[in-house]
């Protein structure tokens, strides 16, 4: 019996020639990422367990991005960033990207890609559930809590159970009215919020490999919404080109064997998929935009690790160009690099930044912002009984702030069409 890409990477990390789903392994971690919400408690646990003179297992492998609660007056949130800053200073950490400096990056999962930490064939852990995003690079990546992260900082190791794999094959090419968000919402609708629990979700087919790295990250980013341990896409020439531009590290490309075992296989013909939403209050509450169009909105939001990449803003700008929004619309670039690209990318000579400003959108600085609600002064946060459409990843009650709000999740095309309408609208009517 052959092995899947996930099984191959985990066996390499555990120093074994073969592993089986269900087997418990001790993995050697290539990168540990943390941020301002989970970093401070992780550091506390690490010191508690390994003592004040504790050693970091490998400083080059520890990466810290303050990104969650950045532009806030909340004193405790700012104190937490201060704890990270002091920690980086005390231990002379090179991979710390401080707020208020030109090293500040924004949302960790996108910054990991941009800064060259995503390397095919490696194993990356992070104190954030959307750490699965990095799987778009043909690597194993998953989220853990503070205790597990503290254990990694002290030992470089972590136990994991080898997941069973599910395979999702997309045939055909993405039509102009869809983005990868529509595809992953379909997967979630089909397998529901626990259909991937403790499993690897592997994406395959020409419909996946024709996508940009940005769009591939949208697929792997949301596998956690199905409860998955990791999402993964084999590295190809697109991946290699992206990685080589950003890192000089060597890498190994793993591919699933033809006789690898999958617990379930799903096939999608992209040409049959329609613009889609996840209705309140679950990312798996799939419906077509046509079925909910006309739903009145109070706010539109384009941002986050899921929907705040440059590809997302290019898609939204196609529709918003030359028009005016009808409801407050927030543009929150995931990273400072994306924010810069908003000024550089143009349509008919007009920068994306200008297009959004001309339309009346509010452009906010890069951070996780209202994707997860955050402190009450967070830009774009859901207030009371709002109805919001957003390119983010979760719409559980209260996720974006008020638990009285209703959130629809959709592609940047659908959110842009809805912003121009003041109600949920189908991008096919605007393209």
């Amino acid at each position: 019996m052959g092995m899947t890409i996930t099984e191959k990477i985990l066996s390499k990390s555990a120093g074994k020639s073969k592993v089986k789903p269900g087997e418990n392994l001790w993995l050697n971690v290539d990168v540990l990422m943390t941020h301002d919400v989970c970093g401070p408690p992780t550091i506390n646990i690490w010191k508690r367990e390994f003592g004040e003179n504790a050693k970091i297992w490998d400083k080059e492998k520890l990466v810290i991005f303050p990104d969650h609660y950045i532009f806030t007056k909340n004193p405790q949130a700012n104190r937490n960033v201060g704890i990270l800053r002091q920690f980086a200073k005390d231990y002379n950490l090179e991979n710390y990207y401080d707020v208020g400096t030109d090293r500040y990056k924004g949302v960790c999962h996108i910054a990991l890609a941009e800064e060259g930490y995503n390397i095919p064939g490696t194993v990356l852990f992070g104190t954030d559930s959307h750490t699965c995003t990095s799987g778009a690079f043909g690597m194993f990546s998953t989220g853990v809590g503070n205790t597990d992260a503290a254990f990694i900082i002290g030992t470089g190791k972590i136990w994991e159970k080898v997941p069973e794999s599910m395979k999702f094959t997309f045939t055909g090419e993405l039509p102009p009215y869809l983005t990868a968000k529509d595809l992953i919402l379909h997967v979630l609708g089909d397998i529901t919020t626990d259909g991937g629990t403790y499993r690897a979700l592997e994406f395959n087919g020409e419909g996946v490999f024709s996508l940009s790295i940005d769009e591939r990250m949208t697929l792997t980013n949301m596998v956690i919404e199905a409860g998955a341990m990791n999402g993964i896409i084999e590295a190809d020439e697109v991946t290699e080109a992206y990685v080589k531009e950003r890192s000089n590290k060597s890498y190994e490309i793993f591919k699933s064997d033809p006789d690898a075992k999958y617990v379930a296989e799903y096939k999608y013909d992209i040409s049959k998929i329609e613009p889609s939403v996840a209705k309140p209050h679950s990312p798996a509450n799939l419906d077509s935009v046509r079925d909910v169009q006309g739903t009145k909105l109070t706010k539109c939001y384009i941002g986050s690790c899921t929907g705040g990449k440059i590809s997302d803003f290019k898609a939204a700008a196609k529709i918003i160009f030359g028009n005016e929004i009808k409801v407050p619309t927030f543009i929150v670039p995931a990273s400072t690099a994306v924010a810069k690209q908003l000024g550089e990318n143009t349509i008919a000579g007009v920068s994306l930044k200008q297009i959004f400003q001309n339309a009346g959108c509010e452009i906010a600085p890069s951070s996780c912002a209202a994707c997860l609600g955050g402190p009450i002064d967070t830009v774009g946060r859901a207030i009371d009984g709002e109805t919001i459409i957003s390119t983010t990843n979760r719409n559980f009650p209260g996720r974006m702030g008020s638990k009285k709000s209703s959130v629809y999740l959709a592609s940047p095309l659908t959110v842009a069409a809805s912003a121009l309408s003041g109600a949920i609208a189908d991008p096919r009517d605007f393209l």
Partner: protein
Amino acid sequence: MEKIIKGKAFVLGDNIDTDQIIPAEYLVYSLTDPEEKKKYGHFALSGVPLSQTGLQEGGIPFIKGENYQSDFNIVIGGSNFGCGSSREHAPFALKVAGVKAIIAESYARIFYRNSVDGGFLLPFETPQKLNNKIKTGDELKLNIESNTLKNISSGEYFNLRSLGDILPIVEAGDIFKYARLKGMIV
């Protein structure tokens, strides 16, 4: 490790995500400062919509008034308990509030790991749906050796799944104590 956990049930529905267990705006508080960490207990389960909190009837607050500890110390959930974010603040908040065990049909991976590796609480799995059989306030007795749950209020017995692979970590206390027992760390 306690072999018997007795206490009052607090019943919730399916897909209780970590934002409902501890809303993101409260994650700013210290988990070590003795006063500040009480906030986690006070706000535990405060993100659950009122109609869904304290089933079967709903509308029962988990925490009363300004308290940080709950009258309920066994949570009965449905499927996919603890889905959503990786925040370890979620099992931590339940622990500060006094919860000792959760009994649910299934768990999200990270919440499950955090509960066990951090030694916060016991995540038992039930092969049958219990959040429609047990009522909030029912007196329960959980036997950790025999993996059984008795509803003292109704007289019913339920078999739970064994803790399985995680039992050695649970018995040790947390992942660090387990690794020390195994000689992996000093």
